[in-house]
């Protein structure tokens, strides 16, 4: 029998038919929607006069465009309110489950899918958001789609996609202290560039990946899109099954055992061929930081900005207010953002809280600590993280995408520096003129305490 990769196994099992000289028609098991990229898809259905084909396979939440304070009040900004209301209307009308604002399961779409047990190994999952790749951490084929494709899934539960090529990135060895999943992915993107993965679906493997928690694996798969890849995935194992067990939509009891037996088959056959293979040594990875305006422009937090004579590179550094050859460590920053579908889960809040515990927020820093979901918020409070944060001068906000894309009020002012645990440092991503440096929750915590770019390893020692 032909040896298959994990990706092939899942993809091929979902092909309804192959269009000659065209894309595959791929069946979608779970569809996640949110307020920003769905309204035009619903109006498309209305124009065609067709219903939602399988409403039970779509789940909705409001996350991109919601405030992160006073969520019990009506949304102040009119356009945002209308957009969120539109989602509610559409879901009601079409019989789609909605975890809207103030629902105990509301949150960032890629945080709640796994948290509710909706995300399960072997599935195909799509969402009108590029970071759908997050769900790949569970051994799913999950990728972002555009609004026309959201309409296709609503209408037929299928999308039409050419099958991507396959790449395997193996991270071997053990991570050093103070180095997190976020650093692994920033290191990889810096290595292969912001477009190095275009056309590929990536499988992450190797001992360092196996040692990661589910939260860490989600952080890793989340940023696959930042190297241009369609998505990333990791073979499910006991860590995965333990995470899923007992969650709201997970199979129960005997069904769960049966599911686990099936899920254990989901791995790449020995000898299966990838179009591209890359091996990374975990020991080489240090806490990373980006200095430019695409996620491929990264250096170790104590490193120096390289030089590159190209016009784009210089334009990027001008925007950031940096010089080639400069060191970033020790430079003052203004904002710290902990949150997003990359680093807004409970483990991230724990890591941040542990580092700031017993210390005080630096006076020059405005910090936004935004849990990824209501459940993360609840758990943080149960664990007393809110108290630790409060004592150190931080405040826990309410869930949403927040400053990750700055669609709501959480915008970094022009020219200000933000150490952000999110996934994109594009010009203006966190607000017009904002300057974003992507980093791990530990590096963000270190900056929040010292008021400047700091190596988190130095703080871990005290």
């Amino acid at each position: 029998m032909q040896k298959k990769t994990l990706f092939d196994k899942i993809w091929d099992a979902h092909v309804v038919t192959r269009v000659k000289n065209g894309p595959d028609v791929l069946y979608i098991d779970r569809h996640l929607i949110h307020e920003v990229t769905s309204p035009q898809a619903f109006s498309g259905l209305e124009r065609r006069g067709i219903p939602v084909f399988r409403p039970e396979k779509t789940v909705a939440t409001a996350d991109h465009n919601v405030p992160t304070v006073n969520q019990h009040l009506p949304i102040r900004e009119e356009m945002s309110r209308l957009q969120v209301n539109k989602l509610t209307e559409n879901c009601l009308h079409h019989g789609i489950t909605l975890y809207g604002l103030n629902h105990p399961s509301q949150g960032i779409v890629h945080v709640i899918g796994p948290e509710l047990g909706i995300t399960q190994p072997g599935m195909t999952i799509v969402c009108g958001d590029s970071h759908t790749s997050t769900h790949g951490a569970f051994g799913t084929v999950a990728f972002g789609i555009g609004t026309s494709e959201v309409e296709m899934v609503l209408a037929t539960q299928c999308v039409m996609q050419p099958k991507p090529k396959k790449m395997r990135i193996s991270v071997e060895g053990s991570l050093r202290e103070g180095v997190t999943a976020k650093d692994i992915i920033l290191y990889i993107i810096t290595g292969i560039s912001a477009s190095g993965g275009t056309g590929y679906f990536i499988e992450y493997a190797g001992s360092a990946i196996e040692e990661l928690s589910m939260e860490g694996r989600m952080t890793l798969c989340n940023m696959s899109i930042e190297m241009g890849a369609r998505g990333g995935l990791i073979a499910p194992d006991d860590t995965t099954f333990d995470y899923i067990k007992g969650r709201e939509f997970a199979p129960k009891e005997a069904d769960f055992e049966k599911a686990v037996d099936r899920w254990r088959q989901l791995k790449t056959d020995p000898g299966a061929v990838f179009d591209e293979e890359l091996v990374v040594k975990a020991e080489d990875i240090e806490p990373m930081l980006t200095y430019g305006t695409n996620p491929g422009m990264g250096i170790p937090v104590n490193g120096t900005i390289p030089d590159d004579p190209s016009a784009g590179f210089r334009k990027s550094l001008d925007y950031m207010g940096f010089q080639p050859g400069e060191k970033l460590e020790g430079k003052p920053v203004d904002y710290v953002f902990l949150g997003s579908c990359t680093n807004g889960r409970i483990e991230d809040l724990r890591a941040f809280s542990a580092m700031v515990k017993g210390k005080k927020k630096a006076g020059n820093i405005t910090a936004w600590i935004v849990p990824g979901s209501k459940q993360v918020e609840k758990q943080a409070i149960e664990e007393g993280l809110d108290k630790i944060l409060e004592e150190s001068g931080f405040e826990l906000r309410q869930p949403g995408c927040s400053a990750c894309l700055a669609m709501n009020e959480d915008k970094i002012p022009a020219g200000k520096y933000s150490i952000s645990t999110s996934n994109r440092n594009f010009e203006g991503r966190q607000g017009p003129g904002a300057r974003t440096l992507l980093a791990s929750p530990l590096t963000a915590a270190a900056a929040a305490i010292t008021g400047k770019i700091s190596d988190p390893r130095k703080l871990l020692k005290n």
Binding site: N21, Q40, S43, H64, A155, Q157, S195
Partner: protein, 198 residues
Amino acid sequence: MPKEKITVLRSRYIPLPVENVDTDQIIPARFLKATTREGFGDNLFRDWRYDARGKPIPGFILNQDRYEGKILAAGKNFGSGSSREHAAWALYDFGFRVVISSFFADIFKNNALNNGLLPVQVSDGFLALLFKRAEENPEILLEVNLPEQSVSILPDGPEESFGINSYKKECLIKGYDDIDYLLNLKDQIEAFEEQHKG
């Protein structure tokens, strides 16, 4: 939405020699609050086109009268980042029908094709030549021929061919979309569901 069919397009083009143009630049998130598809062209490249007070920035290419056309020629890795289809809508709404680059991000390419906007991938050398020629002569014309899958600088070249899968090509030429195609497969989709139950 009914889109103009694309076959052969002759037009001047607007050069944007910037690499890694991400969809946050094409249409910033704060303009994604509309619930219809129209009107996004006004905010295309918003923060490059206008300053904080809404005044046009004279240096930006879309603000220069010398350049116009239905074709945008942009640097490598165009359309990276967010999956927002609003980027394709904004380009179309502004009047573009073709985007030329030496490399496109995957999701953007799909979104463009689904919205009657043709992504034409050319070699780095050809793209560099396009930038150079436009700088020398802003009035220079291009011909994009979808049936022939070629793009040429008028009047006498050079010409380069580009790839597109034949299904998508037919959709663009005939003005069909994927949903029409999928809706016709309903029986097959239901049969697939039946087979994969449980």
